[in-house]
């Protein structure tokens, strides 16, 4: 979520809450001669409010499961998640009196640190990456559907080439397939203007089709500059009647490259969740155990 000026009220409210909590903590530690205890009334108050914030932050996951329930706009929840989640950390530190305690609480504290850090990192990524993605992946599609879209791109590219060159058959020879380890062998059918279209067909079968079939960052076409050169050369080799097809193929290559880029960016955009979410749940589970055992002992 973009942290923009619309977050002002949340930021101010969180700041005020933090200031109040800090003041309360300082006052409480200064006035009582006792050593700080999370189990004292005020310590428990910090613990309960911190835990409540954590639970609220975690409830975002639940909120997302029922997007249609009219229980507050999702973006309100998100803002709450961001700010209260962040606020919960100092509150819990106050609860703990800046001590990490026994091994359970120490583990929890470290998980908490990682959760908060990953959350901050994620917020930062989600702040900047969409803009980058918007600029660098104009042909983006739905991430989950990239393989599906790619399969269609391959069909489209095959169609373009066979339309331009007048037919191109993909013949899978079982023996050859075994020999080459699965790579299908392609043959193009003969056509009257085979001579003219030969460079296009050869380029497509030898170079471009493998790239479209299995886009690999090691493939030469994955490099934009190389691609530009290749297609520029093709244009000089081919009569102008083929140029539309060449442009279309070039465009498909560009789309493939952008989809690869999208995959990478998407991994960044959402990969941190793999740390953030499981650890948050672990933290919550441990927090519940902590509550139970703290009440018990």
């Amino acid at each position: 979520m973009r942290i923009d000026r619309t977050h002002q009220s949340w930021a101010v409210a969180s700041g005020v809450a933090l200031a109040l909590a800090a003041a309360g903590y300082v006052a409480a530690t200064a006035s009582s001669g006792r050593p700080w205890s999370g189990g004292s009334a005020i310590g428990l108050a910090y613990g309960i409010s911190g835990f409540a914030m954590m639970v609220f932050a975690a409830l975002l996951a639940g909120r997302k499961k029922v997007p249609v329930w009219r229980i507050g706009r999702a973006q309100t929840w998100m803002r709450g998640h961001l700010w209260l989640g962040l606020l919960s950390f100092p509150i819990i530190l106050f609860h703990a009196g800046f001590a990490f305690g026994g091994s359970l609480t120490r583990v929890m504290m470290w998980i908490f640190v990682v959760v908060i850090l990953s959350g901050i990192a994620g917020a930062a990524l989600q702040h900047f990456l969409p803009r980058l993605m918007f600029a660098r992946v104009p042909m983006e599609t739905i991430y989950e559907q990239i393989p599906h879209v790619r399969a269609q791109l391959l069909i489209e590219a095959d169609g373009i080439v066979s339309d331009a060159c007048g037919g191109m058959a993909v013949i899978t020879d079982p023996a050859a397939e075994r020999a080459t380890g699965g790579a299908s062998k392609l043959q193009s059918s003969v056509r009257v203007d085979a001579e003219e279209s030969a460079p296009l067909r050869e380029f497509y079968l030898a170079e471009m089709r493998p790239f479209v079939a299995e886009p690999d960052s090691a493939h030469p076409l994955a490099d934009r500059q190389h691609g530009d050169q290749v297609f520029a050369r093709l244009r000089t080799l081919l009569p102008s009647g083929f140029h539309t097809a060449v442009s279309a193929l070039e465009n498909i290559c560009e789309e493939e490259r952008q989809l690869s880029r999208q995959q990478k960016m998407h991994a960044w955009l959402h990969g941190w969740l793999l740390t953030h979410i499981p650890l948050s749940f672990a933290l919550l589970v441990l927090a519940i155990i902590h509550i139970v055992t703290a009440l018990r002992y």
């Binding site: 997302k64 997007p67 969409p130 739905i142 989950e144 959402h270």
Partner: protein, 733 residues
């Protein structure tokens, strides 16, 4: 009675009314005069001159246009006349590619037949050097300009008989020929392929391509003679029937046979000769609903169908009748009806290629004529048949039809009886204007077949306000209001409308004040909608904006790509809100920094609504396009939508096969789904569920207006329903 005059033809004394042409006088008395350019149903023009006769004047006269004079002596068969005819035919034959296609196919090229009759020898003149060409662009009619003898029969058929005004003359001298529109290829012209020109053509210049008229397999192929023997084809042109041999077949169905299935595409109509058939919709009259199967803690979303009773949707109509492509409407609760001898069904499928709206099954052993549109067209022009259809309609369907219109449901039986013989059934060809904006309002119309486009003339062009489907009505605003038509209504395809005269209409609203109030309310709503839909006439030089059709949209789902994290919450929300089926695809074109997501745009001109065979897609009184439960899943709306915003979802359903065994059959059904703006909620779910403040439902002109310095049209801002909702249309800050 006109004055009778006497004259002599070929030595016979005849008496005819004054004003009769010599040609008609001769024919009335059994004296044949050969002709090429003249046809009985057309205005004579006298261009071919084959019908010349000797009237004793300085020159021979063309009998088709020359009126009889009292005491005239006409010789039709003297050697001089014969010689002149033979010379004319020889010259025509010189350019005629004998045998022409028609001669090859059916051997009835009028020119070649005449040449043979007159024993015209092989032409002594050379053929023209410059070919006149052929036009294969129409799917149904082949045009061979080589065979054309410029008799103008096709032009008169098109313009005078059919009033299509497509065909005309072009060129002069050797380049003279017939032309479609402004000499466009026939397939690209406004030709409606009615076949009138083809029927009119004496030679092989316009021939049936047998594309539409592919042979209907099976059944008893009927010869033209056999058809002519059937009462329903009484008075139909034998030529046409011959030309379309195989375009009509007689079929025998045993009880229980399926005659046609809902949702299928077809091109034929059926006329029941004997026996009876059941018409029903077997698609569940249901909409998609999610079944909450929370088996274990990994709940799976399953989409189910549920009907209006189980799961009422507020936005739905409470219509009790489903309009179908037959003379009856189907009741909502038990969508079946019975048709008997003399009923015709499948007209819309046949004329406008709409998908079948219902399944028809033979109830008893029955015989039906299946026909293609050319046959149906001719059939419907047949006055006898027409009268019969009208009669059937008045007797059986009118009441049903009137009552299927919700506002008219309160009509009493007596009043319907009163109307029964006073209403008029009128057919309109595609594009034909039914009422014109500004004209005095004199009648009220119910649409029986086809779609009527309601549009308003604006300086920048017409603005489509609505498409009125079968079962809808129009014309009430003018009658209730100032007596002047406020919009133009024209037939979008083959339209049949029931016209109720203004007098009867006034009687009706006087007798039934409830109906008056309801009509007035609907009229007020329609007017309000129309005001809301008025788009700005400002033309904006924004290629993308226009190219993407954003101007047409009334509400866009846009995702701010600088905020969107591609988390897909909007899609999940949509699927959740719509029972596991997403009506939103997070893919589409970008405009500015926004992704215009694939979700209904509530177009000003909702093309999707055109052609729905059962009229289940309609626009609510606000903005949303809603698809009613009785969607039969034909997919026409989805293919009509230029933006891919309607999708067809397949559902596995268990349907009870009603007859004969009543066993449950598992099958896959499709239903069309489109964004409904979550009208029962304060805010669309996708927007509500966006955690990143990226999704917005916006009025495009208002939203992008600020960006491009546009002034949003006041009317749009005032009336767009969504505007008042807080937080929805917040433009980016």
């Amino acid at each position: 009675m006109a004055e009778l005059i006497k004259l002599t033809i070929d030595g016979r004394e005849v008496e005819v009314p004054r004003g009769t042409t010599i040609f008609d006088a001769a024919r009335l008395n059994g004296i044949p005069i050969p002709t090429l350019c003249h046809q009985q149903n057309q205005t004579p023009v006298g261009v071919c001159r084959v019908c010349v006769v000797d009237v004793g004047a300085r020159v021979y006269a063309a009998s088709c246009i020359r009126e009889c004079d009292a005491g005239m002596t006409v010789k039709t068969d003297v050697p001089g006349v014969q010689k002149a005819r033979a010379a004319l035919v020889e010259m025509l034959m010189a350019d005629h590619p004998a045998p022409c296609i028609r001669q090859q196919n059916s051997g009835d090229c009028e020119l070649e037949t005449l040449a043979a009759e007159l024993s015209v020898p092989a032409p002594r003149y050379p053929r023209r050097l410059s070919p006149r060409g052929r036009d294969d662009s129409s799917l149904s009619i082949a045009v061979d300009h080589e065979s054309c003898i410029l008799c103008d029969r096709c032009i008169r058929g098109c313009d005078d008989v059919k009033k299509n005004l497509v065909l005309g003359r072009t060129g002069k001298g050797v380049t003279a020929g017939v032309a479609f529109d402004l000499n466009d290829p026939m397939g690209a012209s406004t030709c409606v392929s009615c076949g009138e020109c083809m029927v009119s053509c004496p030679t092989g210049a316009l021939t049936n391509k047998r594309v539409v008229g592919t042979e209907l397999g099976g059944g008893d192929a009927l010869q033209a003679e056999e058809l002519l023997d059937l009462p329903v084809f009484d008075g139909v042109s034998g030529t046409f029937l011959e030309l379309n041999q195989g375009a009509v077949v007689k079929r025998h169905f045993k009880a229980g046979d399926i005659i046609c299935k809902e949702g299928e595409f077809g091109s034929t109509a059926f006329y029941i000769m004997d026996g009876s058939v059941d018409v029903f919709i077997s698609a569940p009259i249901k909409h998609v609903q999610q079944e909450s199967t929370s088996s274990g803690w990994l709940s799976t979303i399953r989409s189910m169908l549920s009907d209006r009773d189980q799961h009422p949707r507020s936005e739905e109509t409470t219509k009790r009748w489903i309009p179908i492509d037959a003379p009856v409407d189907l009741p909502y609760d038990n969508p079946r009806a019975r048709l008997g001898p003399g009923d015709l069904f499948g007209e819309m499928t046949c004329m406008s290629f709409h998908p079948r709206s219902a399944t028809v099954r033979a109830a008893t052993d029955c015989t039906a004529l299946e026909m293609l549109r050319n046959v149906l067209d001719i059939l419907q022009k047949n006055k006898t048949f027409r009268a019969k259809l009208d009669d059937t309609y008045r007797k059986r369907a009118l009441e049903n039809h009137l009552k299927s219109v919700p506002v008219l449901a309160g009509l009493s039986g007596e009043f319907i009886d009163y109307l029964r013989n006073r209403v008029e059934l009128i057919r309109y060809a595609p594009g034909q204007v039914i009422v014109r904006q500004g004209d005095p309002a004199d009648s009220f119309y119910l649409v029986r077949l086809g779609f009527v486009k309601v549009s308003e003339a604006h300086p920048g062009g017409d603005l489509v306000l609505a498409y009125v489907p079968r079962g809808g009505y129009f014309g009430e605003i003018g009658l209730l209001g100032g007596g002047v038509r406020v919009a133009t209504c024209s037939a979008l395809d083959h339209v049949e409308a029931v016209r109720i005269s203004g007098e009867d209409f006034r009687k009706m609203i006087e007798a039934f004040p409830d109906i008056r109030a309801e009509l007035a309310r609907v009229a007020e709503e329609r007017l309000a909608q129309n005001r809301a839909r008025q788009k700005t006439t400002d033309s904006v030089e924004l290629n993308d904006f226009l190219a993407q059709g954003l101007m047409e949209a009334q509400s866009l789902l846009v995702l701010d790509l600088e905020k969107c994290t591609r988390c897909d919450q909007c899609v999940k929300a949509c699927a959740d809100a719509h029972d596991g089926v997403t009506r939103l695809v997070r893919e589409g074109l970008r405009f500015d920094k926004y992704l215009v997501a694939t979700s209904c745009r509530q177009c000003r001109d909702p093309l999707c609504m055109v052609g729905c065979p059962v009229g289940s897609i309609r626009r609510r009184n606000s903005l949303e396009v809603i698809i009613e439960d009785w969607c039969i899943g034909c997919g026409l709306c989805a293919s009509n939508c230029p933006y891919g915003n309607i999708s067809m979802h397949s559902f596995a359903v268990e349907t009870a096969d009603p007859e004969p065994s009543n066993r449950k059959v598992a099958s896959t059904r499709k239903k069309a789904t489109g964004c409904d703006l979550c009208t029962d909620q304060a805010e669309p779910s996708c927007v509500y569920a966006c955690p990143h403040d990226a999704a917005h439902r916006v009025e495009p002109l208002t939203f992008f207006g600020a960006k491009f310095g546009l002034t949003p049209p006041r009317s749009v801002v005032d009336a767009t329903v969504r505007e008042e909702r807080p937080g929805v249309d917040q433009t980016s800050k």
